[in-house]
């Protein structure tokens, strides 16, 4: 579904992505992990076309993403730090996003209801707390019933109850056979959600394999331990 070939990106002299190649398919829940500043967010933004790569190719369903933008209607995106028009009310932002979605939007209000977002409908975006903003971001990402979800640190700043609601929602979407990419530092929250681990460091893919394989290889029984094992292995190499 998403195929990336030899992706390169530098910000000035800083090389962020250093030849990334990989394939992702429907039904996968890819846990994107890696140290800070390893290029995770940049990789996700490249897929979304927000960052323009220096070279390399990204294909969505066999079509290069730099050709046209319509592929983005199949992606729900939750940014790490959601920035919204400060003078708009929560309700207005929601209405605007629906209004700007191309024809035939199937609205999914499940998460909005679970977060009881209507209780802050009339609040201005500028008055929202960090956690409430995250909730808005999450609701927007799941607002349309789309085949691909890209979640950049989804639970950062959410209270435990909301984080659990979001987790249930991700599991629910996983059952529908969607491709979900989650970038996260909270290893325990990936437990039971992720099907594959994508470990990125220094702008390169260090490990990309199914969790079942990984558990066998490392001889552990928990995703968390397996991930730590990989991270240590690569840290030892440096």
């Amino acid at each position: 579904m998403i195929s990336i070939r030899n992706l390169q990106k530098s910000f000035g002299k800083l090389r962020v992505l250093h030849g990334i190649s990989l394939e992702m398919h429907p039904g996968q829940v890819v846990a994107l992990i890696g140290p800070n500043a390893s290029g995770k967010t940049t990789l996700l933004k490249c897929i979304l076309g927000m960052v323009v790569p220096d070279s390399g190719l990204i294909e969505f369903d066999g079509k290069a993403v730099n050709q046209e933008v319509s592929y983005r209607k199949y992606i729900g995106y939750m940014p790490q730090i959601g920035r919204y028009p400060e003078n708009m009310r929560v309700r207005q932002v929601m209405k605007m996003m629906i209004d700007l979605y191309p024809d035939g939007a199937v609205i999914d209000n499940e998460l909005a209801n679970a977060f009881s977002l209507h209780s802050m409908d009339q609040k201005f975006m500028r008055t929202l707390s960090g956690g409430s903003r995250q909730k808005v971001s999450a609701v927007l990402a799941f607002l349309f019933d789309v085949p691909v979800l890209i979640l950049d640190e989804p639970t950062a700043g959410l209270d435990p109850i909301s984080a659990e609601i979001l987790r249930q929602k991700i599991l629910h979407e996983r059952e529908k056979g969607k491709l979900i990419i989650i970038s996260s530092h909270v290893l325990s929250e990936l437990e039971g959600i992720a099907t594959d681990i994508l470990y990125v460091a220094d702008g390169k893919v260090k490990t990309y394999q199914p969790i079942t394989e990984l558990l066998e290889e490392t001889g552990t029984s928990h995703t968390r331990e397996a991930i730590l094992e990989i991270m240590n292995r690569h840290a030892g190499n440096n």
Binding site: G49, M50, V51, Y77, P85, M96, M97, L100
Partner: protein, 258 residues
């Protein structure tokens, strides 16, 4: 196209909300009403308005449009992850800001002029001011996509305004002095035509018929810009000043990382 219009509409609503455009409208309206009521001589009133149009309108347009582009960075970011072409995002913003400022100008200056001085001169004045508004909104779009830093962006916008209103004239004067042994009428004509504010000034002064005070050059200008062909060229140069900065801004914006 539909998406562009939607974006323009959201931009326009946001602008109406922050009241600066309304203040600008009443400011222009107040100034023109005062000018027309102070003196019975309508031509004098028009002449005073020319100065406002050549200085204040470009300044407000460029600074206001630049600030608005930085203030809507969140909105732009939100749109970028959606299936919307970058060209449309920028053109939509341009259309929204241009509509707001054009309305302010047409109500603030256009309405009084049509009431007190509805003549060919008056109409030229309105057309020139309106085109200048669009030019400077377009230049502002370029300034705003050039840098991420809001303060620097606004600095660039003010500097550009300075360039077109003062520095450029200084440069033309310098050329006149440095090469005054040569016949300069035509080169200077071309040089002035390259600056939208100078161009608007010449056209307006010619219409008001005080070009006699401008000596030989004035006569040449009259020969040139006074004709229908001159009008077409003037309009095309001003249109270029709307299209080219906007085109460059779109090109830059397409390569930008968010």
């Amino acid at each position: 196209m539909q998406v562009t219009i939607k974006i323009a509409r959201y931009t326009l609503l946001d602008l109406l909300y922050n009241r600066v455009t309304i203040f600008y409208t009443f400011f222009l309206l107040g100034v023109s009403l005062v000018i027309f009521n102070l003196d019975d001589n309508v031509s004098k009133g028009i002449l005073s308005l020319v100065n406002i149009i050549l200085l204040i309108v470009p300044l407000v347009s460029i600074v206001f449009a630049t600030i608005h582009m930085y203030n809507s960075s969140e909105f732009i970011e939100l749109l970028l992850a959606r299936p919307i072409q970058r060209t449309r995002i920028l053109v939509g913003h341009f259309a929204g800001i241009a509509t707001a400022l054009s309305t302010a100008f047409l109500v603030g200056i256009g309405l009084p002029v049509m009431l007190y001085a509805a003549s060919a001169t008056g109409i030229t004045l309105i057309a020139a001011g309106w085109l200048l508004t669009l030019c400077f909104v377009s230049i502002a779009m370029l300034a705003a996509v050039t840098t991420r830093d809001k303060a620097r962006g606004i600095g660039i916008a003010i500097l550009l305004w300075f360039l077109f209103t003062m520095i450029y004239d200084g440069f033309v004067l310098w050329v006149l002095f440095a090469f005054n042994d040569y016949p300069l009428e035509r080169p200077v004509l071309v040089l002035t035509a390259l600056n939208p504010i100078d161009l608007a000034r010449i056209v307006l002064l010619l219409k008001i018929d005080i070009s006699a005070f401008m000596g030989y050059t004035g006569a040449l200008y009259k020969d040139y810009f006074g004709t229908a062909k001159g009008m077409i060229i003037t309009t095309s140069v001003l249109l270029c000043w709307i299209i080219i900065p906007m085109y460059l801004a779109v090109r830059k914006f397409k390569r930008r990382d968010i």
